[in-house]
């Protein structure tokens, strides 16, 4: 009886711990930056173009009701470009947003954080099959996903990679359950989820499987039944993903084929690294690009124990920690920046090693280990990390109410076939945010604009960018297995070249530009605007920061040149 009561108390304590952990993770990850509100008047927490790329694609799928094609305002004005991005994030996120009554920009972002935390909890259950106390002690490391450079996975818009890693954790969980009669079904569905969310994570999943099975073979513990179940799950995943994989084959694999590229750092992105040994930091790092040394020590101790444990038990749990550590270094063997996307989840994957290392170290000191000890230590570490970390301040965003108001006005009031021209604005060069206008849009070439400004000339022709997502060369379908590419069909001048300033329907002016040192005057935009107003254009919308003019006679002189 006493034993049963003790068991129940332990169970309740464990559940309470998971609830507290979930609150802390969600608070630190999203609650803080969202100022503890779910609904916002404009996207909050969005810090780079790619975040808007995914938000606008999700928005366009909601508008169209399907993802047959990319929206024309995403695809540089082309209306036949096939929907080529892995679709799961957008569809699951859209459904969640629509049903919950949230705007897409809030709903998809919330969905992403909630599922990341679910992924962390799955990792807890994976480690728990090895040792419950190690699982509890592992959890504090996971918060580094929000407290270090890895947080750009969310704010800079690596959303498919995030969700792909979450499903990869699901696939790892189901690997440990393959002995169940239909266990391969879960593995198959999770693998399909990885394939149709961020396909490159599939490569890491199968590389892990290869390493894991090879290691078992070397240790003379190869299990043919396990391989057969993995095979059955893989076939299921391929059947589920078949239609999308054809699109993937003729889009991503054509435009961005695998090329061997070694890159120790992630160019133009704040990457995440295992350590900087010359920085002795306890609970946080100033640079945010590596684990604090204290945590690294536990991870390395855990690594040694995990290797010994795997040799002895062949358990998949230590193999996950070892395998994901190795795969995070594949940037050195040709996987380039994809390895850095896997590293976004190092705080979760390596929590296996951290938990194991910490557990065995404490066990050296404390002979009678129980759940209360591990719970207390885990929460204490977590609180110390939180207190020593800098999370994003409330309401941090690239977007602001004024630009959002202008973009929304354009999307609702301009004609569907209108062509918009954005003059220089500090935020416009993260140009995926312009897609919120839901119209074909053009952006003045930055260098040409600055040259003209410095020469004090207002010209009729400016170098102009046709922004949009051209990453897969704007593919369109000719037949089931036959694709064409607008990016090949058109001359490169079409996408970036001189354009007649007077040929557009709407002009968007920022009234204040400030952040660029090369801009000697922030009056240039307003001078162009004045000329246009004097020659018959009308201001159709204005707020504190943005002015929108409508051109009644596109093609005619609009600047008195």
């Amino acid at each position: 009886m006493v034993e049963i009561i003790k068991l129940e108390i332990n169970r309740i304590l464990e559940i309470l711990f998971l609830i507290i952990i979930s609150i802390i993770l969600l608070w630190a990850g999203l609650g803080n930056v969202w100022n503890h509100k779910i609904s916002h008047d404009y996207p909050v927490g969005y810090l780079a173009s790619d975040a808007f790329q995914h938000q606008t694609r999700a928005e366009s799928i909601k508008d169209a009701g399907n993802y047959r094609n990319e929206a024309f305002y995403i695809a540089k004005g082309f209306r036949d470009v096939i929907g080529y991005y892995p679709p799961v994030l957008y569809h699951a996120g859209d459904m969640f947003s629509i049903l919950s009554g949230l705007e897409i920009y809030d709903g998809v972002f919330l969905f992403l954080f909630l599922f990341t935390i679910l992924g962390m909890l799955i990792m807890y259950f994976i480690i728990k099959t090895f040792n419950k106390n190690a699982a509890i002690l592992a959890m504090p490391l996971t918060i580094f996903i929000f407290a270090t450079n890895t947080s750009i996975a969310f704010t800079w818009g690596h959303w498919p990679a995030v969700l792909g890693n979450v499903f990869l954790i699901g696939a790892l969980w189901s690997l440990a359950k393959l002995d169940s009669r239909w266990g391969f079904v879960f593995f198959g569905i999770f693998t399909a989820g990885v394939m149709m969310t961020h396909t490159s994570e599939t490569v890491f999943l199968f590389l892990f499987l290869f390493l894991y099975l090879m290691a078992k073979l070397l240790l003379k513990n190869f299990n043919l039944k396990e391989l057969i179940e993995i095979g059955k799950g893989t076939v299921l995943a391929l059947v589920i993903s078949f239609y999308y994989l054809i699109i993937f084959r003729f889009t991503w694999m054509v435009a961005q084929p695998y090329s061997f590229s070694v890159s120790p750092t992630w160019v133009a992105n704040p990457g995440f690294y295992l350590a900087k040994l010359w920085n002795f930091e306890l609970f946080n790092t100033v640079s945010g690009d590596h684990f604090p040394l204290l945590f690294l020590i536990f991870i390395l101790i855990g690594l040694v124990i995990a290797i010994l444990s795997f040799i002895k038990t062949r358990s998949i749990v230590p193999a996950i920690g070892i395998g994901m550590l190795i795969l995070g270094f594949t940037n050195y063997i040709g996987f380039d920046w994809r390895a850095f996307q896997l590293r976004f989840f190092w705080p979760v994957y390596l929590s296996v090693l951290f938990g194991i290392g910490l557990y065995y170290l404490i066990k050296l000191v404390v002979k009678k280990f129980n759940i209360l000890i591990s719970l207390s230590i885990s929460l204490l570490i977590l609180i110390l990390i939180v207190l020593n970390s800098n999370f994003l301040p409330a309401n941090t965003s690239m977007m602001d109410p004024y630009h959002w108001d202008a973009l929304m006005w354009l999307s609702k009031n301009s004609e569907e076939n209108a062509k918009l021209y954005f003059l220089y604005g500090d935020i416009y060069f993260q140009d995926a945010l312009l897609r919120n206008s839901k119209r074909e849009h053009y952006l003045v070439g930055r260098d040409d604009y600055i040259n003209a400004l410095n020469n004090n000339t207002i010209k009729r022709y400016y170098m102009t960018k046709l922004p949009g997502d051209g990453g897969t060369m704007l593919p369109y379908r000719k037949g089931f297995l036959s694709f064409g590419y607008f990016a090949k069909d058109y001359n490169s001048d079409y996408f970036f070249g001189p354009r007649d300033l007077c040929s557009f329907n709407y002009y968007i002016f920022d009234k204040y530009v400030s952040s660029n040192k090369e801009l000697v005057s922030n009056q240039y935009n307003l001078e162009i605007r004045e000329k246009m107003l004097n020659l018959g254009m009308q201001e159709v919308h204005s707020n504190q920061f943005v002015s929108i003019l409508k051109n009644p006679k596109p093609g005619e002189d609009c600047i008195g040149a």
Partner: protein, 120 residues
């Protein structure tokens, strides 16, 4: 059989409890949001992802603690609804309808299978 029904009854209770706990977690983190909005958000999560995923987990895994079943089921649920919604969209059924159709179909199929297998 009796023991299994007892187990399911217990899990239904846990399921309701999990809904309340999930709502409380969101209410704590997003304390400036209205309770109605929080409840609607949690209801959406449960309808779209948790219910289909958890039901499938009962068909495949007999012995899982409820919390683990809830977490893995919800995670799986995002794929269970996300991928078919994509394909249904291509076939002409808009995502706005998939929201209601897919979970309902899953509930019917998975519950039907559970009863069928139990009878067998």
């Amino acid at each position: 059989m009796e023991r299994k029904i007892k187990g399911i009854k217990k899990d239904i209770l846990y399921f309701i409890l999990s809904f309340i706990i999930f709502s409380i977690i969101l209410e704590i983190v997003f304390y400036k949001e209205s309770l109605i909005s929080i409840i609607r958000t949690v209801l959406s999560l449960y309808w779209l992802f948790a219910i289909p995923g958890i039901l499938l987990s009962y068909l495949i895994f007999d012995k899982l603690e409820f919390v683990e079943r809830f977490v893995i089921g919800t995670l799986l649920g995002a794929i269970l609804t996300g991928i078919p919604a994509y394909y249904l969209g291509l076939l002409g059924i808009p995502i706005q309808r998939s929201i209601f159709i897919l979970p309902a179909v899953y509930i019917i199929i998975f519950l039907g299978l559970m009863f069928f297998l139990e009878k067998k």
